[in-house]
Symmetry: D2
Subunit: 305 residues, 4 copies
Amino acid sequence: MEALLKQILEDCRRYTEQGAVATYIPELAKADKSDFGICIVNEKNECFAAGDFEKPFTMQSIIKPMILLMALMDNGGEAVRRLVGVEATGKPFDSFNYSDLALIGEHINPMINTGAIALCTLIKGESYNERFNRLLALTRELSGNPLLQVDEQVYLSEKRTGNKNRALAYMLRAYGLISDDVEEVLECYFRACSIGVSTVDLARIGSVFAHGGVDRATGKRHFEREYARYVNAILMTCGMYDGSGEFALTVGVPAKSGVGGGVMASVPGRMGIGIYSPALDKKGNSIAGIKALERLSKELDLSIF
Amino acid sequence: MEALLKQILEDCRRYTEQGAVATYIPELAKADKSDFGICIVNEKNECFAAGDFEKPFTMQSIIKPMILLMALMDNGGEAVRRLVGVEATGKPFDSFNYSDLALIGEHINPMINTGAIALCTLIKGESYNERFNRLLALTRELSGNPLLQVDEQVYLSEKRTGNKNRALAYMLRAYGLISDDVEEVLECYFRACSIGVSTVDLARIGSVFAHGGVDRATGKRHFEREYARYVNAILMTCGMYDGSGEFALTVGVPAKSGVGGGVMASVPGRMGIGIYSPALDKKGNSIAGIKALERLSKELDLSIF
Amino acid sequence: MEALLKQILEDCRRYTEQGAVATYIPELAKADKSDFGICIVNEKNECFAAGDFEKPFTMQSIIKPMILLMALMDNGGEAVRRLVGVEATGKPFDSFNYSDLALIGEHINPMINTGAIALCTLIKGESYNERFNRLLALTRELSGNPLLQVDEQVYLSEKRTGNKNRALAYMLRAYGLISDDVEEVLECYFRACSIGVSTVDLARIGSVFAHGGVDRATGKRHFEREYARYVNAILMTCGMYDGSGEFALTVGVPAKSGVGGGVMASVPGRMGIGIYSPALDKKGNSIAGIKALERLSKELDLSIF
Amino acid sequence: MEALLKQILEDCRRYTEQGAVATYIPELAKADKSDFGICIVNEKNECFAAGDFEKPFTMQSIIKPMILLMALMDNGGEAVRRLVGVEATGKPFDSFNYSDLALIGEHINPMINTGAIALCTLIKGESYNERFNRLLALTRELSGNPLLQVDEQVYLSEKRTGNKNRALAYMLRAYGLISDDVEEVLECYFRACSIGVSTVDLARIGSVFAHGGVDRATGKRHFEREYARYVNAILMTCGMYDGSGEFALTVGVPAKSGVGGGVMASVPGRMGIGIYSPALDKKGNSIAGIKALERLSKELDLSIF
């Protein structure tokens, strides 16, 4: 298996030169385009990896399924569904393009910024600090890595330049979807996006989603099966920004990308996958990461369709 | 199994009273809201059915995966992909809401009217009559029902009132996505939408998609596995109009609905399902049909997530 | 005055080299970018002209105020207002960008294609041939030129390539704003757009609008003062496509442009102006024509603000 | 003249019962629907008034032409034009409905919130306090009323509930149209909207715009004629929110409404008008105010078309 992973990285390496690293968060612009790593954790909890699999990067949008999961665990599916819809929007992840009448929860989803920001308010906690800490704790637990922490440089960079997210959050508040202090909610969101991980962490988290909430190493159930399905279903339809349809076709598994260059995939019943290559296409997805996933999907017949 | 199907119909029967039958095609308005039938064809090619499973209705949008399949078989995936995109649009199936700049194939998909109309031009044939006949022949073949034919009343009704589709088709032509005579292309499309089927036919077609293009009765491969995945993937992300996200969550299998009240589902590796109940929700999906599928999915653990 | 007009043409001649002639109607692409003419008809019915003032070109969108006027004369202001709104749309003149809910008459106006096409159905007549002939007769009457006629080459070119207008017209019909045969309505519209005029004709028509419906030569009232105001008001807010705001600022008089390169202006109480230069900016307005109008407005203090 | 004004108020009084006072700023909800006043200041600087002409209310959007004027006086027309466009948007005044690509200054205008907020950054001053004070001073000067001041209750109410404007301002900042601190810019904007005036103040300000920047009482030129035209032209095309087209038709003069219930009109060469009646239509315009202006326009033949 490791030989296969190595081969795939080698064959797809030329794609790492395409696209560009994210620059709208200045700190992300420092990423090295040549970094390329992959890790898979299978149903026997075996872990295989290749390339820069231990290289740290920030989760960015990959935290969105974790925010959704925590909101589900804290409130149940109905409450989450009432606040935030589940349909694809046909628009970029940070779009302002709402008509006034249509701006209701029904027209956002947990994988776009407005949806994820709104769901932060459903995480339980006395303060937004506590809410964030609970989210971090859950992420550490699913990844099995108690050392996960916020990359302070990225967090500060994100906070300093996050005016578009501020605009989106004030819009949510203006329309009554959130009622908490916008800067506090965003503090939680920006810190969550800035959690540093490696492909190994993503593969482990993906593996828990792939096995219905159960950690195959310990047999422990972290959350209910229906929540895994909720998350996987939304990853399938909306996880890869406005490239989700293409990804369903060519790879065919639930996955979530982040502008930090990572992708986490969950292959139901089989494995979790983490991948990292920071150069992005125009939709915000890792180019080489997707190519490697396409190849892996073909080799191991991963598509669920 | 038949007992289960009967039980499900019984339990969901009250939903048949909600919503309304489609009226924008006058002929469809004659449907009987109390009709309710279901059929499944499993991996052993066993067929189970209950209720009004033999009641005929027209395919309407359920022909879209067949048009896509035929276009794939006639031209291969790349040519199809070049003409029509694969992303969810976040808009109703017959939306005019294109900004001028964005009206390129990339922003439509095979499950909305513009995409399906455009794909009719990729079906091979000397005339649009021949193209339609080849599409009908393929539909007969996959359903194993050589008697399938156009419901002339519905077809004429559709043709007479199809001005929105005319508008969409002229728009496609104005933007150079199609170059054939609009009325001829629409003739093919309207006739295709008007093919009469029963839930048994849909279950058999769904079963072929579920088994990668192979008819489990005869072992015959009708089309390549990758085309089944192409179709299934798009059904998952866009098959239930702008209710596809919700359906992925609650049912979790590729499916296509039509405003005639039918739903065809394909459960990869397991079964095809046909369902019929003509009262629709505002998005154009059969209300009782979806409820029955939710129930069936839970009972048989059908979700692929 | 003629010296001034000559001077203005000379000073603005360099602008005739910018932009490009319309090409979407193939016949219009044959226009000569170096043609440049102007004519004004003042309150004493004196006519002054310079440059290629007698050069013929087709009215194109400049027929829209005539269609609106005829609809007003045939039905009164209320009936016109009920069918077609009066607000600027913020979109190009041939935009498809309607959200489904919003596609009601209120969101179109008489100066965009959908509005003008819809208003053709309000012109009285047994047939669309008669309706067109009545419109032509009125145009001849206001211009004082009984020789005005359709440029058959442009008409045929327009008819052959007018798929976008077909799409718009079928959309109007799908939404119930028009109920007549689309091709017949468009026949009338395409012929109307193809009426050949010179700047002298436009100046004379503009003069009638400028003087509240009265022909200053004969003292004859062609139509009611309130209709002149209806037309002038809409020309001010929507007459120059989506460049109307800029034009109000820099020129400050009601005016209508056409993609044939003409502009007709009506300076209330003072004069009518016709101008011709076929190279257009991206919004569809004559570049040199607007520059000459800006200059003329400054020299003669024409702005009504 | 005063008899005419009284008659008009009497005849239009029944319209004060239609519509509703603005409630999105809680303090505005306290307005008395039965208040109805009018004032005109003509070219001889004579002042005529009737009804509740001295009743105070806040300017709200009527401050927008003042912000535009100050930006013009401080920077000239070109700099203003570079930052903020002049075309009607076809959308409500506080719309979020920007597509990402289109969100450039060209697609906003000085009469919608985003445009006015952006123009606040062009007012010169060491601090936003100084900028606001200069704007207040100019407003006092044009109205000839040195006692004008901020209504603190409305200002605080506006600041507390102004999340939509916060969202718009952060969006402007995210797209680089403004670079100052959002809360400081909004502080200036909210205070400006909360300046209390009466119809007399509005009529006097309108009169200065009507006479090209000259105060007819003193003969003093407050600003250049071209700035009066800039403002009047934009008031004509965009001054009455998305009811500007209708207003051009029925009243035919440049005017600006505010959700406080006031309307200021400028009749070029003739008079300024102030009117007050707090019940609004759905577009945010004073219902009885517009009816009274329609009547006045007919009686005095005010339409510039």
